[in-house]
Assembly symmetry: C2
């Protein structure tokens, strides 16, 4: 956990436009900036822990963060991936409930902390902020219900392919040959945790979709050989 005061401030934050703070005045932004704390964190570190009481919220400036739920038997699942421009932990703060998940760093990330008092302050002073939180929560809810529905109706294979397409939307690019490509930011183990599956099953699945010519895995590099067929199989959703 490294402090990095120099790099960022809220008013010129490249991701502010996608956060709850987009409607703040220059004045308010300065206040936000004065009280925020910014950290560079690495894989294996945890922003907050399931079960802890919330003391503020966290803005992900860059990097990839996973929200992990662990049950009483030690079964563990990744509920959601969050990347730059999203705030996490707002639900626990605003509902005064303990965190339902832990937020763990998956790739090196810059994370800003905003303590409870400044958040309440902004909520009280600028009605737009509450609106933004509401919109954010509704969006998260709809995504969560979508994931839930998928988990109830689709096989691991289909959810795996869906995940691959989501990753492409978020991280995809065309390589030097013009092939659609993703550099996988997570481990096989974490793919499994996202799908409620075992790592061995993911290995076999990867093998299979490779043999079928859908995707080509080379370590962490994925080539999307036949994106149409993938889209078609998952039903374009």
């Amino acid at each position: 956990m490294t402090n990095c005061k120099t790099t960022h401030n809220c008013s010129n934050c490249p991701t502010r436009e996608t956060t709850e703070w987009r409607d703040l005045s220059e004045n308010e932004l300065t206040r936000l900036d004065e009280t925020k704390r910014s950290r560079l964190m690495g894989p294996g570190e945890t922003i907050y822990f399931q079960g802890d009481q919330a003391d503020g919220i966290y803005c992900i400036q860059s990097g990839l963060v996973g929200l992990r739920y662990v049950d009483e038997d030690g079964n563990s699942a990744l509920i959601r991936l969050c990347d730059k421009g999203t705030t996490v932990g707002y639900g626990a703060l605003l509902s005064k409930q303990p965190y339902a998940t832990s937020a763990e760093i998956l790739t090196p990330s810059v994370v800003c902390f905003l303590k409870r008092s400044i958040v309440s302050d902004m909520l009280a002073k600028n009605p737009k902020v509450g609106e933004r939180f509401l919109q954010h929560s509704i969006k998260d809810l709809s995504e969560s219900e979508g994931d839930y529905a998928r988990s109830l109706t689709k096989t691991v294979r289909l959810r795996f392919l869906h995940l691959m397409m989501v990753l492409y939307e978020r991280l995809g690019y065309l390589n030097e040959n013009g092939d659609p490509t993703v550099e996988l930011p997570i481990l096989r183990r974490e793919i499994a945790d996202l799908l409620g599956a075992q790592p061995e099953s993911i290995s076999r699945l990867i093998r299979k979709v490779q043999d079928e010519g859908l995707l080509q895995f080379n370590g962490k590099l994925i080539l999307y050989c036949d994106m149409n067929k993938v889209q078609q199989e998952i039903g374009i959703t």
Copy 2:
């Protein structure tokens, strides 16, 4: 779909305290009441349909409503059960997205409709309303993520037992012999849809937990023979 203007009005609505409208003034309540439409609906009817554009929100005055998601292959799942005192459809309305689920009546229900304009109006005039929606959304999100996590980490059997406990919390009572009891408000088919399983599997599961002496099923009547063992198996969550 039957109109029933006589029975209810918002100011004396027995469930208003649990809705977004709890902070409204008498004046505002009257306005709400004038524009609302109240209906008595029966099983098989649908409040709104997945894919439609939202034109307002619905308050469930009494009864049980299920939110159903159907995917492109016709796989169907019940995402959530809603009973009296909850509003449904607010997410679609406030995010201007089409409904992600259909809302179907499971047991005879009184449902009130509030059209878009009155909702926006209340949101604009009374800041508490937005706050309530935010709290509601956060609560729904946390429940949805909980369900999702369970679906990723637990077997159908455990989720079935969990559902039985949820039903007991909502509908349970002690019968004449002092035994904890529930009158099941839904079909086997619907239990299956709630768990992402097949009805046959639910039948077998019921048979099994009966043979094990955990629960006793008599048509729609459930006796909780050994609640401790059930609680222990699902881990008290």
